[in-house]
Amino acid sequence: MNPTRRSPLSRMHADLGAVLEHEAGWELVASYGDEAAERARVRDGIGLVDVTARGKVDVRGSLDGALSAAGDVLTARIAEDWVLVLAEPGGEEVLVPKLESAAGPNAMVTDVTHLFVGFALAGPALPDALARLTSWDPASLAAGEATGAPIADVRAVVARRDLEVPVLEAYVAAELARYAWETVLDAVRRTGGGPVGWRALRAEGWS
């Protein structure tokens, strides 16, 4: 038996003509049929990617030990005693035991891969799209930092990254996935963008 993990948005992706590929037991959207156009969208405008498949590990408590063991992954530090560690799909299977061992008894390490859906908004039009989605000022967040902020009236963990293009990753409760995706996609489309697959995002150096 080969169980497949699917984003709660998988049927919406199918309606958009998603081309699927499999990675670490996940079904990912490689593209929506025109990879070149999607790359151009990210490079020149804005694209929206479902990055729910990311490995996600929540660490709370005394973080020093866990952070030193995290290695080359994205750490979204939300508070002094709370960090969300983000990895490639399937990366949580390695991360959780490593972080637990390093954190010791003074921190709680939890695999929250399935707790959140994740969106990445990528492209130079990112500020315009965000202006339609939140009153929170993304300029208040430096590249590499993370915080809690409302996106489309939903509580989200957001992390800002500057790659070849500006990228904002937002993680919201999985049960709100469809509402959040539809609302964010609507804002992205009004900004001239649209949905893009993982390949377009990875082409910009995202991991």
């Binding site: 993990r5 699917r6 709370r60 709680m108 929250v112 891969t113 399935h114 999985a174 049960e175």
Partner: protein, 308 residues
């Protein structure tokens, strides 16, 4: 923390075991109910009612901050999908889904057992809101379609069918299992709804203890009781319980039960009526019906099917 949050005892809950509990506010009024499973020496898996999750998260987190205990609380509601595989054939279906021993001896009633189900790491809870042998399978939510499809395929030769909330409402009524918020209100305490056994008054303290011990607390004026009803008319929720034409109580839930062969329900009545066989009258508009108090579950009162 659990000892303070609930009126019953959890410190002695054995690893891999589950206990039912009701959570009370400071006045001893029922806030919520659910199960607590001990999944490690210092780790507990707590379930609450569906609509109360966010409020209970705030409640627990608030008290945790106030008590300054070395406890961390994480709401994992969205992280888990859950399927309640229920019915006498459920063990046979489970055997097709896992290599683990799912016999009644290995996975008894009120146990919490980690095992792979359909190739997915899962926590299997032997609890039974619907009153039958059942396995509540909790698994990482994004395997949801895979697990559902696998369960339905494995159950095909057993005649499996999906069931919805309406069937669940009938089945839980046959067992007289309460729904907090529907069968309880802003004044209901555990003694009034027949859950006094969950209150361990010898504990040093718990939320609601002083409320339950306060003046007049033991002299409950009302009791929530089960009832059967003559005829085929199903009294709507909120129907009056009347005595000599005077309102003395209300129906909180009622359904037609094929298993019992009668209308069954729950109603608040004067506490003196809380005895098997007490007749009373229900009224809704021009409808009137004769009802009889039943203090024990209508279906499988000894719980043999649950424990099988």
């Amino acid at each position: 923390m659990l000892e303070r949050l609930y009126p019953n005892r959890f410190a002695d809950l054995a690893l891999g075991r589950i206990r039912y509990g009701v959570m009370l506010n400071d006045e001893g009024v029922i806030l919520d109910d659910g199960t607590v499973a001990r999944i490690d020496e210092d780790e507990f898996f707590v379930t609450v009612t569906t609509g109360n999750t966010a409020a209970l998260e705030r409640w627990i987190t608030w008290w945790n901050a106030d008590w300054a205990l070395d406890v961390r609380v994480l709401n994992l509601t969205g992280a888990f999908g859950a399927v309640n595989l229920a019915g006498p054939a459920s063990r046979g279906v489970m055997r097709s889904l896992t290599d683990a021993d799912v016999s009644g001896e290995a996975v008894p009633y009120l146990s919490a057992t980690p095992m792979d189900v359909a190739g997915v790491p899962a926590l299997v809870l032997r609890i039974g809101f619907v009153g039958e042998l059942g396995y509540e399978i909790h698994f990482p939510s994004m395997y949801g379609e895979h697990v559902w499809d696998a369960v339905m395929a494995a159950g095909e030769r057993h005649g499996i069918r999906p069931f919805g909330l309406e069937a669940q409402r009938i089945l839980r009524l046959e067992k007289q299992h309460i729904l907090v918020g529907q069968d309880t209100d802003a004044e209901s305490d555990p003694f009034e709804v027949g859950l006094g056994w969950t209150v361990k008054a010898d504990k040093d303290d718990f939320l609601g203890k002083r409320g339950l011990e306060g003046p007049g607390a033991e002299a409950a004026g009302e009791r929530l009781v089960g009832f059967t009803c003559e005829g085929s008319w199903v009294p709507p929720e909120g129907s009056s319980v009347v005595h000599d034409g005077i309102w003395v109580g209300r129906v909180t839930s009622a359904r037609a039960s094929a298993a019992v062969g009668s209308i069954v329900g729950l109603a608040w009545v004067p506490s003196g009526w809380a005895n098997d066989g007490t007749p009373f009258e229900i009224q809704f508009g021009s409808h009137r019906s004769k009802a009889t108090v039943a203090m024990r579950p209508f279906y499988d009162p000894e719980g043999q099917r649950l424990r099988s």
